[in-house]
Symmetry: C2
Subunit: 317 residues, 2 copies
């Protein structure tokens, strides 16, 4: 085995122990990796009761969790999983530096576009990798993560071909029971995921809470979803990511088999949390338009989501 | 004066004493017309305290209101103002018959498309007139109507040119201080009003509560409103109503001067009342598509509104 970049005694940090960070971090720790969790609100509970993952296919309890309220207490790590909401990225400027040594790798597991760029800008592009999480999780109480479905992770390099370290990281996840593959072109995969997230996460919110099955049950919403998908594919192409037109129908077919799935943004919305509007809608819209794509439907959807989000943050309005 | 169709001793009924019915009925009664109000929930309060209209430009108290809980107690009238929400049209099949004699005129003051057709189908097309209310009212408590702005009424015949009776009715309203004009083509005016109602009433709801000023403050929502207007104008044209393309910019300019206006559907939404989705969005969409118009944006907006409305009616979902 030539794992030069990820060794058994690697120190791993998880920044943002919500559903995603808690899940993938606990999976690594459960099989013996040295994982250190930054835990904000839930610290006491996680110290006392650990992290629990409950699901159809797995039921894991990580009793002893190395958890911290500040990254300075963790110190330099070899790999950092970043799983705060993209709306909290500004906080990373302070959270990340204590975790860095010269070759620390930063793997963002966040949604949408712009997160790798943020990390590259602040901490150097060569550190940055991205992961796409195809999983349905919900943090139902402090330290308790409900795992509803899927679980696949796709990791890739930021603006580079996969390297030895990319495969090593993928291997580490696989070792711990996570279905993980390496993306040849991370940007392309991010756009491909947006083909789904843009319509379904968005329509779920602007319809007042429809799940995927309810959206698909209406021909008009299905048509709207397809039109949004076409716009995202058009924008991806203009931005140099060759997504085929058929990607829309592919995603539709995949969605048919999902059942009544509540997209992450709908879960955030229902829980009163901030919505990841910039990462999922704003940044793709900005890039698409800058590249000359026409995106009237995404413009309208993005505007609605922003207005809804702002109205929630300033309910007096 | 040749008022053959509307005489001083005409009996007038108001079916639906909400903001619109209460306002225009009280204006007629205040200047001595014989107006009989069907009042459902607020009957006791209106019997005791009358109808009050409060506004910047008027402050009227109609102390003695002839009000009834059933139209059978009113009996045949010469003119019936219909001002129930279009969502309650089914109830009209029972409410209207006791008010009819051979020449009773039915003037619907309801929003959107389809109300004249409903009345024509049930009670004969020759009785039916329509009125468009350009007014901002809110029934703030039983019998108390806040009059925020405007007040113009446009009356016309259903699928016919205006007749002597149309002008007589208009004259009656003018006599009572209402700015009233006669529409040469009622259908055209209904579509013209939709050019405004479709985007602004709709976007106000799907953005979580933005008023007109807040919508106009965002370039993206302004663009979305214009695109919706273009679709409505295209549909009107396909349906045989020659609205010029410039109608969109005209309406936009008019809206700039309105200030922070809360469209009626937003007021209904905030009050938890049913939304007039079919009249304002569903029927125009259906007619437009049947006539060969392309309406992807209206399709999406209508779908969202229906979903939001249904989610409110079945909050368990």
């Amino acid at each position: 085995m030539r794992a030069r970049y990820v060794l058994p005694d690697f120190r791993i940090a998880v920044v943002g122990t919500g559903a995603i960070g808690g899940y993938y971090g606990a999976k690594l720790a459960y099989l013996g990796r040295d994982v250190h969790f930054l835990v904000r609100g839930d610290l006491r509970r996680v110290q006392r009761s650990g992290i629990r993952i409950r699901g159809k296919a797995e039921n894991i309890r990580l009793a002893k969790v190395k958890c911290y309220s500040a990254t300075a207490d963790i110190g330099p790590c070899d790999l950092v999983l970043i799983a705060v909401k993209s709306t909290a990225n500004a906080a990373l400027s302070d959270l990340i530096p204590p975790l860095l040594h010269e070759r620390t790798m930063l793997l963002t597991l966040q949604n949408g576009l712009g997160n790798e760029e943020f990390l590259a800008r602040h901490f150097g592009a060569e550190r940055v990798l991205g992961g796409l999480c195809f999983i349905c999780l919900n943090r139902v109480s402090p330290g308790v993560i409900e795992h509803y479905d899927h679980g696949r992770l796709v990791v890739g390099e930021y603006n580079r071909y996969p390297a030895a370290r990319t495969h090593d990281i993928s291997w580490e996840f696989k070792r711990c029971g996570v279905v993980c593959t390496v993306a040849q072109n991370l940007g392309l995969e991010r756009w491909r995921k947006l083909v789904w997230n843009v319509p379904f996460n968005g329509l779920a919110v602007v319809t007042g809470g429809l799940d995927t099955a309810a959206i698909l049950a209406r021909d008009d919403l299905r048509a709207t979803a397809l039109e949004l998908m076409d716009e995202v594919i058009g924008a991806a192409n203009k931005c140099g990511y060759p997504l085929p037109t058929a990607a829309a129908l592919d995603q539709m077919k995949r969605t048919e088999t999902m059942g009544a799935y509540r997209p992450s943004t709908l879960i955030d919305f229902a829980a009163g949390r901030a919505l990841e509007i910039e990462a999922i809608w704003g940044e793709p819209l900005r890039r698409g338009i800058a590249a000359g794509a026409e995106m009237p439907r995404l413009t309208a959807l993005h505007a609605q989501l922003e207005a809804i989000d702002q109205a929630r943050q300033h309910p007096a309005k």
